[in-house]
Protein backbone atom coordinates (compact mmCIF):
# COMPACT_ATOMS: atom_id res chain seq x y z
CA UNK A 1 0.00 0.00 0.00
CA UNK A 2 1.25 3.36 -0.88
CA UNK A 3 1.68 5.32 2.33
CA UNK A 4 2.34 8.49 0.44
CA UNK A 5 -1.34 9.05 -0.14
CA UNK A 6 -1.22 10.60 3.36
CA UNK A 7 1.29 13.28 4.21
CA UNK A 8 1.85 15.50 7.21
CA UNK A 9 2.94 19.03 6.85
CA UNK A 10 3.71 21.27 9.80
CA UNK A 11 2.89 24.96 9.66
CA UNK A 12 2.87 27.58 12.34
CA UNK A 13 -0.92 27.30 12.43
CA UNK A 14 -0.83 23.59 13.16
CA UNK A 15 -0.50 20.44 11.14
CA UNK A 16 -1.95 19.97 7.71
CA UNK A 17 -2.86 16.38 6.88
CA UNK A 18 -2.80 16.08 3.11
CA UNK A 19 -4.99 13.26 1.85
CA UNK A 20 -4.82 12.04 -1.70
CA UNK A 21 -8.01 13.02 -3.43
CA UNK A 22 -8.11 9.99 -5.69
CA UNK A 23 -7.74 7.28 -3.09
CA UNK A 24 -10.70 5.60 -1.41
CA UNK A 25 -11.41 6.56 2.21
CA UNK A 26 -10.67 3.14 3.65
CA UNK A 27 -7.20 3.19 2.17
CA UNK A 28 -6.57 6.68 3.43
CA UNK A 29 -7.65 5.59 6.88
CA UNK A 30 -5.25 2.69 6.92
CA UNK A 31 -2.43 4.80 5.58
CA UNK A 32 -3.06 7.48 8.19
CA UNK A 33 -3.09 4.84 10.92
CA UNK A 34 0.29 3.53 9.83
CA UNK A 35 1.82 6.90 9.20
CA UNK A 36 0.74 8.42 12.48
CA UNK A 37 1.89 5.30 14.32
CA UNK A 38 5.36 5.72 12.86
CA UNK A 39 5.39 9.44 13.60
CA UNK A 40 4.18 9.14 17.16
CA UNK A 41 7.49 10.08 18.71
CA UNK A 42 7.52 13.21 16.66
CA UNK A 43 4.00 14.26 17.55
CA UNK A 44 4.08 12.98 21.10
CA UNK A 45 2.04 15.12 23.45
CA UNK A 46 2.00 17.99 21.02
CA UNK A 47 -0.99 20.24 21.29
CA UNK A 48 -2.07 21.61 17.99
CA UNK A 49 -4.73 22.22 15.40
CA UNK A 50 -4.98 19.91 12.45
CA UNK A 51 -6.35 20.70 9.05
CA UNK A 52 -7.32 18.07 6.52
CA UNK A 53 -6.75 18.93 2.91
CA UNK A 54 -7.24 17.17 -0.41
CA UNK A 55 -9.79 14.37 -0.03
CA UNK A 56 -13.13 15.81 0.95
CA UNK A 57 -14.21 14.22 4.20
CA UNK A 58 -17.58 13.99 5.85
CA UNK A 59 -17.78 15.24 9.40
CA UNK A 60 -17.88 11.68 10.73
CA UNK A 61 -14.83 10.69 8.71
CA UNK A 62 -12.99 13.73 9.94
CA UNK A 63 -13.64 12.78 13.53
CA UNK A 64 -12.61 9.22 12.86
CA UNK A 65 -9.31 10.29 11.34
CA UNK A 66 -8.67 12.73 14.13
CA UNK A 67 -9.32 9.98 16.62
CA UNK A 68 -6.82 7.74 14.88
CA UNK A 69 -4.16 10.43 15.08
CA UNK A 70 -5.02 11.04 18.69
CA UNK A 71 -4.90 7.35 19.59
CA UNK A 72 -1.64 6.68 17.80
CA UNK A 73 0.33 9.74 18.77
CA UNK A 74 -1.24 11.04 21.97
CA UNK A 75 -1.42 14.40 20.26
CA UNK A 76 -3.89 16.77 21.88
CA UNK A 77 -5.92 18.09 19.00
CA UNK A 78 -7.44 21.41 19.85
CA UNK A 79 -9.42 21.67 16.66
CA UNK A 80 -9.86 19.83 13.43
CA UNK A 81 -10.66 21.69 10.27
CA UNK A 82 -11.39 20.60 6.81
CA UNK A 83 -11.14 23.14 4.03
CA UNK A 84 -11.44 25.93 6.55
CA UNK A 85 -14.76 24.78 8.02
CA UNK A 86 -14.55 23.77 11.64
CA UNK A 87 -16.46 20.58 12.25
CA UNK A 88 -15.90 18.81 15.48
CA UNK A 89 -18.46 16.43 16.81
CA UNK A 90 -16.78 13.67 18.77
CA UNK A 91 -17.21 14.04 22.51
CA UNK A 92 -13.48 13.69 23.02
CA UNK A 93 -12.82 16.72 20.89
CA UNK A 94 -15.93 18.55 21.75
CA UNK A 95 -15.02 18.75 25.39
CA UNK A 96 -11.50 19.88 24.76
CA UNK A 97 -12.63 22.13 21.98
CA UNK A 98 -15.35 23.72 24.04
CA UNK A 99 -12.90 24.38 26.79
CA UNK A 100 -10.61 25.99 24.27
CA UNK A 101 -13.45 27.90 22.69
CA UNK A 102 -14.25 29.33 26.09
CA UNK A 103 -10.66 30.30 26.63
CA UNK A 104 -10.50 31.75 23.15
CA UNK A 105 -13.70 33.71 23.62
CA UNK A 106 -12.47 35.02 26.92
CA UNK A 107 -9.20 35.99 25.33
CA UNK A 108 -11.03 37.69 22.49
CA UNK A 109 -13.38 39.61 24.73
CA UNK A 110 -10.47 40.65 26.93
CA UNK A 111 -8.63 41.83 23.85
CA UNK A 112 -11.73 43.68 22.71
CA UNK A 113 -12.12 45.39 26.05
CA UNK A 114 -8.46 46.36 26.04
CA UNK A 115 -8.77 47.61 22.49
CA UNK A 116 -11.84 49.68 23.33
CA UNK A 117 -10.16 51.02 26.44
CA UNK A 118 -7.34 52.12 24.23
CA UNK A 119 -9.77 53.70 21.80
CA UNK A 120 -10.64 57.35 21.97
CA UNK A 121 -13.71 59.14 20.76
CA UNK A 122 -13.39 62.68 19.51
CA UNK A 123 -16.12 65.26 19.72
CA UNK A 124 -15.85 68.52 17.85
CA UNK A 125 -18.00 71.39 18.98
CA UNK A 126 -19.71 72.27 22.21
CA UNK A 127 -21.19 69.62 24.50
CA UNK A 128 -24.36 71.41 25.52
CA UNK A 129 -26.67 71.11 28.48
CA UNK A 130 -28.51 67.80 28.29
CA UNK A 131 -25.97 66.20 26.00
CA UNK A 132 -24.02 63.23 27.27
CA UNK A 133 -21.02 61.47 25.80
CA UNK A 134 -20.38 58.00 27.18
CA UNK A 135 -17.56 55.89 25.90
CA UNK A 136 -15.77 52.71 27.02
CA UNK A 137 -12.45 54.32 26.17
CA UNK A 138 -11.19 57.87 26.42
CA UNK A 139 -12.96 61.06 25.36
CA UNK A 140 -11.43 64.10 23.73
CA UNK A 141 -13.64 67.16 23.27
CA UNK A 142 -12.49 69.94 20.99
CA UNK A 143 -14.75 72.68 22.28
CA UNK A 144 -16.44 73.63 25.52
CA UNK A 145 -18.43 71.39 27.81
CA UNK A 146 -21.25 73.59 29.06
CA UNK A 147 -22.98 73.26 32.42
CA UNK A 148 -25.45 70.39 32.25
CA UNK A 149 -23.32 68.52 29.71
CA UNK A 150 -21.78 65.17 30.67
CA UNK A 151 -18.64 63.28 29.73
CA UNK A 152 -18.46 59.75 31.07
CA UNK A 153 -15.46 57.66 30.08
CA UNK A 154 -13.94 54.41 31.22
CA UNK A 155 -10.63 55.94 30.27
CA UNK A 156 -9.28 59.47 30.33
CA UNK A 157 -10.95 62.76 29.46
CA UNK A 158 -9.31 65.66 27.70
CA UNK A 159 -11.18 68.88 26.97
CA UNK A 160 -9.60 71.35 24.59
CA UNK A 161 -11.86 74.14 25.78
CA UNK A 162 -13.63 75.07 28.98
CA UNK A 163 -14.92 72.21 31.09
CA UNK A 164 -17.98 73.53 32.92
CA UNK A 165 -20.17 70.45 32.97
CA UNK A 166 -19.61 67.07 34.56
CA UNK A 167 -16.64 64.85 33.76
CA UNK A 168 -16.27 61.29 35.01
CA UNK A 169 -13.06 59.52 34.05
CA UNK A 170 -12.41 55.88 34.86
CA UNK A 171 -16.10 55.33 35.49
CA UNK A 172 -15.61 51.57 35.88
CA UNK A 173 -13.28 52.16 38.79
CA UNK A 174 -9.86 52.68 37.28
CA UNK A 175 -7.76 54.93 39.49
CA UNK A 176 -5.19 55.49 36.77
CA UNK A 177 -7.41 57.76 34.74
CA UNK A 178 -7.12 61.51 34.52
CA UNK A 179 -9.09 64.54 33.41
CA UNK A 180 -7.35 67.42 31.67
CA UNK A 181 -8.84 70.66 30.36
CA UNK A 182 -7.56 73.93 29.00
CA UNK A 183 -9.83 75.64 31.49
CA UNK A 184 -11.28 73.57 34.27
CA UNK A 185 -14.29 74.69 36.27
CA UNK A 186 -16.56 71.65 36.22
CA UNK A 187 -19.81 71.49 38.13
CA UNK A 188 -18.45 68.20 39.37
CA UNK A 189 -15.41 66.12 38.63
CA UNK A 190 -15.31 62.37 39.17
CA UNK A 191 -12.50 59.93 38.76
CA UNK A 192 -13.37 56.30 39.49
CA UNK A 193 -15.56 56.44 42.64
CA UNK A 194 -14.11 59.72 43.92
CA UNK A 195 -15.99 62.99 43.53
CA UNK A 196 -14.56 66.49 43.65
CA UNK A 197 -16.25 69.87 43.58
CA UNK A 198 -14.52 72.97 42.42
CA UNK A 199 -14.52 76.26 44.26
CA UNK A 200 -17.08 78.70 42.94
CA UNK A 201 -14.73 81.63 42.42
CA UNK A 202 -13.43 81.83 38.91
CA UNK A 203 -9.98 80.32 38.75
CA UNK A 204 -7.42 81.74 36.37
CA UNK A 205 -7.52 80.17 32.94
CA UNK A 206 -4.65 77.76 33.23
CA UNK A 207 -4.78 74.26 31.79
CA UNK A 208 -5.34 71.86 34.66
CA UNK A 209 -4.89 68.18 35.14
CA UNK A 210 -6.78 66.07 37.69
CA UNK A 211 -5.71 62.62 38.85
CA UNK A 212 -5.94 60.29 41.83
CA UNK A 213 -3.18 60.05 44.37
CA UNK A 214 -3.66 58.11 47.60
CA UNK A 215 -7.40 57.94 47.19
CA UNK A 216 -7.82 61.66 46.67
CA UNK A 217 -8.34 63.73 43.59
CA UNK A 218 -5.47 66.11 43.00
CA UNK A 219 -5.51 69.01 40.56
CA UNK A 220 -2.34 70.45 39.15
CA UNK A 221 -1.43 72.92 36.44
CA UNK A 222 -0.86 70.99 33.25
CA UNK A 223 2.21 72.93 32.21
Amino acid sequence: MNENIVQFKGTKNGIIVMLDENSPYEELKKALDKKSESAKDFFKDARTDITFSGFSLTAAQEVELAQIINKNTGMDISSALSGGTPSISSPRFASSARKDDGALNQLLSEALVTAKKNLTTFHRGAVRSGQSIRFPGSIVVIGDVNPGGELIAEGNIIVLGILKGLAHAGCTGSHDCFVAALDMRPTQLRIAELIACFPDEKAENTPLYAYINENQIFVEPLL
Binding site: A126, G130, G143, N146, G148
Partner: protein, 266 residues
Protein backbone atom coordinates in the same frame (compact mmCIF):
# COMPACT_ATOMS: atom_id res chain seq x y z
CA UNK B 1 -38.73 82.08 -1.67
CA UNK B 2 -40.39 81.57 1.63
CA UNK B 3 -38.74 80.79 4.90
CA UNK B 4 -40.09 79.29 8.11
CA UNK B 5 -38.42 80.74 11.21
CA UNK B 6 -39.10 79.34 14.67
CA UNK B 7 -38.62 81.60 17.69
CA UNK B 8 -37.68 79.47 20.69
CA UNK B 9 -35.94 79.70 24.06
CA UNK B 10 -36.51 76.73 26.34
CA UNK B 11 -37.19 78.89 29.36
CA UNK B 12 -40.47 80.71 29.67
CA UNK B 13 -40.87 84.43 30.06
CA UNK B 14 -37.77 85.51 28.19
CA UNK B 15 -39.73 87.21 25.42
CA UNK B 16 -40.42 84.66 22.69
CA UNK B 17 -43.91 85.93 21.98
CA UNK B 18 -42.88 89.59 22.11
CA UNK B 19 -39.99 88.84 19.78
CA UNK B 20 -42.27 86.91 17.40
CA UNK B 21 -44.77 89.77 17.32
CA UNK B 22 -42.09 92.39 16.74
CA UNK B 23 -40.18 90.48 14.09
CA UNK B 24 -43.38 89.53 12.27
CA UNK B 25 -44.60 93.11 12.30
CA UNK B 26 -41.16 94.44 11.41
CA UNK B 27 -40.92 92.17 8.38
CA UNK B 28 -44.42 93.21 7.29
CA UNK B 29 -43.36 96.87 7.64
CA UNK B 30 -40.63 96.09 5.11
CA UNK B 31 -43.34 94.98 2.69
CA UNK B 32 -42.92 91.25 3.18
CA UNK B 33 -45.88 88.91 3.30
CA UNK B 34 -45.71 87.38 6.76
CA UNK B 35 -47.66 84.69 8.60
CA UNK B 36 -47.22 84.26 12.32
CA UNK B 37 -48.15 80.91 13.85
CA UNK B 38 -48.83 80.68 17.56
CA UNK B 39 -47.69 77.15 18.40
CA UNK B 40 -48.35 77.60 22.12
CA UNK B 41 -51.56 75.61 22.07
CA UNK B 42 -53.56 75.95 25.26
CA UNK B 43 -51.66 79.06 26.39
CA UNK B 44 -52.05 81.39 23.46
CA UNK B 45 -50.63 84.88 23.80
CA UNK B 46 -49.51 86.08 20.42
CA UNK B 47 -53.02 87.21 19.49
CA UNK B 48 -53.17 89.30 22.67
CA UNK B 49 -49.80 90.94 22.04
CA UNK B 50 -50.92 91.69 18.47
CA UNK B 51 -54.24 93.02 19.69
CA UNK B 52 -56.17 90.57 17.52
CA UNK B 53 -57.79 88.47 20.24
CA UNK B 54 -61.33 89.59 19.44
CA UNK B 55 -61.06 88.56 15.78
CA UNK B 56 -60.39 84.86 16.33
CA UNK B 57 -62.95 82.55 14.79
CA UNK B 58 -60.90 79.53 13.76
CA UNK B 59 -57.55 78.41 15.09
CA UNK B 60 -54.61 76.17 14.26
CA UNK B 61 -56.36 73.03 15.48
CA UNK B 62 -59.37 73.78 13.27
CA UNK B 63 -57.01 73.96 10.31
CA UNK B 64 -55.14 70.72 11.00
CA UNK B 65 -58.34 68.88 11.81
CA UNK B 66 -59.94 70.16 8.63
CA UNK B 67 -62.79 72.09 10.26
CA UNK B 68 -61.95 75.12 8.16
CA UNK B 69 -59.73 76.21 5.31
CA UNK B 70 -56.32 77.68 6.09
CA UNK B 71 -57.34 81.07 4.70
CA UNK B 72 -60.35 81.26 7.00
CA UNK B 73 -58.20 80.86 10.08
CA UNK B 74 -55.59 83.46 9.08
CA UNK B 75 -56.34 86.78 10.77
CA UNK B 76 -55.23 89.90 8.98
CA UNK B 77 -53.41 92.48 11.10
CA UNK B 78 -55.10 95.75 12.05
CA UNK B 79 -52.41 97.90 10.54
CA UNK B 80 -50.38 95.93 8.03
CA UNK B 81 -52.05 94.40 5.00
CA UNK B 82 -49.39 91.74 4.48
CA UNK B 83 -49.33 90.46 8.06
CA UNK B 84 -51.39 87.47 9.15
CA UNK B 85 -51.77 85.51 12.36
CA UNK B 86 -52.72 81.88 12.77
CA UNK B 87 -53.80 81.72 16.41
CA UNK B 88 -53.43 78.72 18.71
CA UNK B 89 -56.42 76.91 20.19
CA UNK B 90 -57.02 77.80 23.79
CA UNK B 91 -59.21 74.88 24.74
CA UNK B 92 -56.86 72.11 23.66
CA UNK B 93 -53.30 71.08 24.56
CA UNK B 94 -50.01 70.42 22.78
CA UNK B 95 -50.86 66.79 22.03
CA UNK B 96 -53.69 67.88 19.75
CA UNK B 97 -51.15 68.41 16.93
CA UNK B 98 -48.38 66.19 15.59
CA UNK B 99 -45.05 67.31 14.11
CA UNK B 100 -46.17 65.88 10.76
CA UNK B 101 -49.30 68.05 10.80
CA UNK B 102 -47.20 71.12 11.60
CA UNK B 103 -44.88 70.29 8.72
CA UNK B 104 -47.84 70.05 6.40
CA UNK B 105 -49.22 73.32 7.71
CA UNK B 106 -45.92 75.09 7.05
CA UNK B 107 -45.85 73.66 3.54
CA UNK B 108 -49.33 74.93 2.78
CA UNK B 109 -48.43 78.39 4.11
CA UNK B 110 -45.40 78.41 1.83
CA UNK B 111 -47.70 77.57 -1.05
CA UNK B 112 -49.90 80.52 -0.09
CA UNK B 113 -46.99 82.74 -1.07
CA UNK B 114 -45.83 84.01 2.30
CA UNK B 115 -42.27 85.34 2.35
CA UNK B 116 -41.77 84.63 6.03
CA UNK B 117 -43.56 82.29 8.40
CA UNK B 118 -42.75 83.04 12.03
CA UNK B 119 -43.53 80.31 14.55
CA UNK B 120 -43.88 81.29 18.20
CA UNK B 121 -42.65 78.24 20.10
CA UNK B 122 -43.95 77.35 23.56
CA UNK B 123 -41.56 77.08 26.51
CA UNK B 124 -40.21 73.66 27.37
CA UNK B 125 -38.70 70.82 25.38
CA UNK B 126 -41.72 68.56 25.09
CA UNK B 127 -44.35 67.96 22.44
CA UNK B 128 -45.05 71.66 21.90
CA UNK B 129 -41.41 72.35 21.14
CA UNK B 130 -41.18 69.35 18.82
CA UNK B 131 -44.28 70.52 16.96
CA UNK B 132 -43.01 74.08 16.62
CA UNK B 133 -39.63 73.15 15.16
CA UNK B 134 -40.95 70.39 12.87
CA UNK B 135 -41.59 72.60 9.87
CA UNK B 136 -38.90 75.23 10.49
CA UNK B 137 -36.06 76.10 8.14
CA UNK B 138 -34.26 78.38 10.59
CA UNK B 139 -34.32 78.94 14.31
CA UNK B 140 -33.89 82.04 16.43
CA UNK B 141 -33.12 81.43 20.08
CA UNK B 142 -34.17 84.14 22.52
CA UNK B 143 -32.44 84.40 25.86
CA UNK B 144 -31.97 86.92 28.63
CA UNK B 145 -28.67 87.58 30.40
CA UNK B 146 -29.54 85.29 33.30
CA UNK B 147 -27.78 82.01 34.05
CA UNK B 148 -31.00 80.01 34.05
CA UNK B 149 -32.14 81.37 30.69
CA UNK B 150 -28.70 80.85 29.16
CA UNK B 151 -28.59 77.30 30.49
CA UNK B 152 -31.93 76.53 28.88
CA UNK B 153 -30.88 78.21 25.65
CA UNK B 154 -27.84 75.94 25.60
CA UNK B 155 -30.05 72.89 25.96
CA UNK B 156 -32.36 74.15 23.23
CA UNK B 157 -29.50 74.82 20.82
CA UNK B 158 -28.31 71.26 21.37
CA UNK B 159 -31.81 69.96 20.64
CA UNK B 160 -32.15 72.14 17.54
CA UNK B 161 -28.86 70.83 16.23
CA UNK B 162 -29.99 67.28 16.91
CA UNK B 163 -33.06 68.07 14.80
CA UNK B 164 -30.99 69.32 11.87
CA UNK B 165 -31.67 73.01 12.58
CA UNK B 166 -28.04 74.02 12.48
CA UNK B 167 -26.55 77.42 13.27
CA UNK B 168 -29.46 78.96 15.12
CA UNK B 169 -29.19 82.70 15.69
CA UNK B 170 -29.34 84.32 19.09
CA UNK B 171 -31.31 87.30 20.34
CA UNK B 172 -30.19 88.58 23.71
CA UNK B 173 -33.26 90.16 25.20
CA UNK B 174 -33.79 92.50 28.11
CA UNK B 175 -30.21 93.57 28.58
CA UNK B 176 -29.66 96.42 31.02
CA UNK B 177 -26.62 98.40 30.08
CA UNK B 178 -26.37 100.11 33.46
CA UNK B 179 -26.20 96.75 35.25
CA UNK B 180 -23.78 95.33 32.70
CA UNK B 181 -21.49 98.31 33.24
CA UNK B 182 -21.54 97.76 36.97
CA UNK B 183 -20.67 94.12 36.41
CA UNK B 184 -23.97 92.90 37.86
CA UNK B 185 -25.26 91.40 34.63
CA UNK B 186 -23.78 89.04 32.05
CA UNK B 187 -22.44 90.82 29.00
CA UNK B 188 -23.22 89.87 25.43
CA UNK B 189 -19.73 88.36 25.21
CA UNK B 190 -20.34 86.23 28.30
CA UNK B 191 -23.46 84.81 26.72
CA UNK B 192 -22.03 84.23 23.24
CA UNK B 193 -18.94 82.61 24.79
CA UNK B 194 -21.11 80.04 26.51
CA UNK B 195 -23.55 79.41 23.69
CA UNK B 196 -21.08 79.64 20.79
CA UNK B 197 -23.68 80.78 18.25
CA UNK B 198 -23.95 83.92 16.11
CA UNK B 199 -25.80 86.80 17.65
CA UNK B 200 -28.66 88.25 15.63
CA UNK B 201 -29.33 91.17 17.91
CA UNK B 202 -29.54 92.58 21.40
CA UNK B 203 -32.69 94.13 22.76
CA UNK B 204 -32.49 96.42 25.78
CA UNK B 205 -34.84 96.12 28.73
CA UNK B 206 -37.29 98.84 27.83
CA UNK B 207 -40.51 99.98 29.43
CA UNK B 208 -41.94 100.71 26.02
CA UNK B 209 -42.17 96.92 25.44
CA UNK B 210 -44.53 96.53 28.38
CA UNK B 211 -46.61 99.49 27.30
CA UNK B 212 -46.85 98.41 23.67
CA UNK B 213 -47.58 94.79 24.56
CA UNK B 214 -50.43 95.83 26.79
CA UNK B 215 -51.78 98.05 24.06
CA UNK B 216 -51.53 95.31 21.44
CA UNK B 217 -49.16 97.29 19.24
CA UNK B 218 -45.68 95.82 18.89
CA UNK B 219 -42.85 98.19 19.90
CA UNK B 220 -41.21 97.82 16.50
CA UNK B 221 -43.76 100.30 15.12
CA UNK B 222 -42.76 102.90 17.72
CA UNK B 223 -40.04 105.13 16.28
CA UNK B 224 -39.10 106.52 19.66
CA UNK B 225 -38.68 103.23 21.51
CA UNK B 226 -35.15 101.95 21.93
CA UNK B 227 -36.35 98.34 21.86
CA UNK B 228 -38.25 99.20 18.68
CA UNK B 229 -35.00 100.27 17.05
CA UNK B 230 -33.33 97.08 18.24
CA UNK B 231 -36.09 94.99 16.62
CA UNK B 232 -35.92 97.02 13.40
CA UNK B 233 -32.17 96.29 13.27
CA UNK B 234 -32.85 92.58 13.74
CA UNK B 235 -35.40 92.66 10.92
CA UNK B 236 -32.78 94.23 8.65
CA UNK B 237 -30.37 91.45 9.54
CA UNK B 238 -33.00 88.78 8.81
CA UNK B 239 -33.42 90.40 5.40
CA UNK B 240 -29.69 89.92 4.88
CA UNK B 241 -28.47 93.47 5.46
CA UNK B 242 -25.45 94.20 7.58
CA UNK B 243 -26.43 96.43 10.47
CA UNK B 244 -24.00 97.03 13.33
CA UNK B 245 -25.08 95.72 16.73
CA UNK B 246 -26.26 98.12 19.38
CA UNK B 247 -22.96 97.98 21.22
CA UNK B 248 -22.41 99.03 24.80
CA UNK B 249 -21.24 102.54 23.99
CA UNK B 250 -24.09 103.08 21.58
CA UNK B 251 -26.46 101.66 24.17
CA UNK B 252 -25.14 104.07 26.72
CA UNK B 253 -25.94 106.86 24.33
CA UNK B 254 -29.46 105.58 23.87
CA UNK B 255 -29.95 105.17 27.56
CA UNK B 256 -28.66 108.65 28.07
CA UNK B 257 -31.24 109.85 25.59
CA UNK B 258 -33.91 107.76 27.25
CA UNK B 259 -32.99 109.19 30.63
CA UNK B 260 -33.32 112.68 29.21
CA UNK B 261 -36.79 111.87 27.91
CA UNK B 262 -37.85 110.61 31.33
CA UNK B 263 -36.30 113.58 33.03
CA UNK B 264 -38.28 115.85 30.74
CA UNK B 265 -41.40 113.91 31.63
CA UNK B 266 -40.73 114.51 35.31
Amino acid sequence: MSEVIVITSGKGGVGKTTTSANLGTGLAMQGKKVAMIDADIGLRNLDVIMGLENRIVYDLIDVVEGNCRLKQALIKDKKYESLFLLPAAQTRDKDAVSPEQMQKLCESLKEEGFDYIIIDCPAGIEQGFKNAIAGADRAIVVTTPEVSAVRDADRIIGMLEANELRNPKLILNRIRIDMVKKGDMMTMEDVTDILAVDILGIVPDDESIVISSNRGEPAVTDDNALAGKAYRNIVQRILGEEVPLLNLEEGKGFFGKLKKIFQKGN
